[in-house]
Symmetry: C2
Subunit: 342 residues, 2 copies
Amino acid sequence: MPAKLDDVARLAGVSPATVSRVLNGNYPVAAQTRVKVLDALRELDYVVNGPARALAAATSDVIGVIVNDVSDPFFGIQARGLQREAADADLLAIICNTAGSPADELKYLGMLLRQRVRGIVLTGGAPEDPRHQTATARLLAQATAAGTHVVLCGRPAPPGVDVPSVSFDNEAGARALARHVLSLGHERIAYVAGPPANTTTTARHDGFRAALAEHGLDAAATVHGDFSRHSGFEAAVGLLRGHPGVTAIVAANDLMALGVVAALRRHGVDVPGEVSVAGFDDLPACVDVVPALTTVRIPFERGVRAAGRAAGGRDRLAGGWIEVELIVRDSVARPGRGLPAR
Amino acid sequence: MPAKLDDVARLAGVSPATVSRVLNGNYPVAAQTRVKVLDALRELDYVVNGPARALAAATSDVIGVIVNDVSDPFFGIQARGLQREAADADLLAIICNTAGSPADELKYLGMLLRQRVRGIVLTGGAPEDPRHQTATARLLAQATAAGTHVVLCGRPAPPGVDVPSVSFDNEAGARALARHVLSLGHERIAYVAGPPANTTTTARHDGFRAALAEHGLDAAATVHGDFSRHSGFEAAVGLLRGHPGVTAIVAANDLMALGVVAALRRHGVDVPGEVSVAGFDDLPACVDVVPALTTVRIPFERGVRAAGRAAGGRDRLAGGWIEVELIVRDSVARPGRGLPAR
DNA sequence: TTGTAAGCGTTATCAC
DNA sequence: GTGATAACGCTTACAA
């Protein structure tokens, strides 16, 4: 239905090739023919057919971004940065939400492959299941073999695949955070971990445990959530009815920490007077809570932009580490009376 | 580089047409040839070439979503719902952030048009500039003429274009909220509006003013933000140095309300003891703030899903209104001492 | 500087 | 059931 190159060519009295050339500006065109063509283009409201161009030129104007959940600010912010960087290169960004499902991750990788996207940014912690890893590795290898620029953001490359990765130092961050909590004198500390078998979960958990081990301590309790606010709430409810005396709860991310704070408040436990709470990520919401959340910031602005450029094929990306930063606010204080006996 | 239909056909000893048929399952194929083909497909790690298919079949596997900012939970949640609905139909979702810029909106519409996406969901308030409206109208008309399913979400259709629209009753919500504030006895109420010349801004502002008018009142002050937290903060700072005695601040959305609360807290003004604050949208963060934010909820779950299905071409959407709901929490109380004289 | 024509990898219409 | 063979709308040598 819409006008095509031939229509424009006919109206302008030139060949389709010429129209293509003024469109792409990659070949010299006489000034006067150019204006004729331009007029015809406008006259017909011509819009390039992307798929046709992609097929002929073997290159697409789209990059793919895979995240856990765009509505989680942690990923939403990354998605926005990636999309913006894509737009700067006149590319569009397909965004996929896996909701943490390894199967969805593979499914979306496949869908992006068949769109022949120019690049793929895979964000968030990776499932640790070896079968999933090899499956991912295969797809990523296939992608790079096809000339797709693959970039990892916040996860290590699966063994055997050589793709650049922007990594966050989760372990160091968790260690710094735990040390901060310990330095205030806490000894009975509970940990709300992320979903099992996930690289981010493991890195943060390891850092936490390492810090405790330095003091000859172990977690007073460990419970797994799924990084959602709701799961943090549930986790805290669980701790409330089984772990009296816990004076601090460290969550693997801010969303869960927010859930913890809400649960404690609901049960009349004062934060940080009775129990201290800490998170990870430094979401914008951290400063709006009372008490403001002590957490770890991942300044990924620059890294995300570099990832976006690399996915668009504008830069080679060597990959690298993003150092994280302990953010001390008000939700962690000296040990209080701890979780009440129920 | 990747295997194509011909390669598979050759390996399976059949014609490309047959391979295409087993791939699409839209024509009968003998059981045994089917398995030969399936084997060959697997053997070669075949992946359909999306652009080629889109060109030949004149239909794409992608929908486009235009939002203000995915990292704003209000849009992030909508984006997630739309993407999810797309995925259910085996479609991918391109997500575009306009950051409220009308020019970007047009730019992205154009880019989506040339991708020949199957559908487009345009979310958020629309710029009221007539020139922009006619420009939008043209593009939307072009899209529907090309068979693209256009759906509006949270904005009215520009004059002259007949596309379904899922609308939120912003005006009624704002009126209900303002009435609630008034009912507690407030008389000096400031309003933090959204960006000028935007349909959402206008609808909410109108509702607010209508309620005040019912009491023969007018806003004690009106200042415009851009729906961001930061702009809310700035707005409150402005009010603090020029409008003593204001006992309530109503913001056009939650993000700005959060900024207002933060600014008041920073200046030692107690909420709601001295000044009441209200928002709009009912973001998840509303319950984490202290005091929990009184606001208006837009239960758009269902509407967003319907919009997603319509964009994917699975349903015709008649369009309709989503009723909003006043959510009374703790940030609005009886009038206190008001903003201090500086 | 411009035109001709051969692809690009599918789908779809015919025949067989 | 299956195989040729045109499209689909564009890019890009290759000629002119």
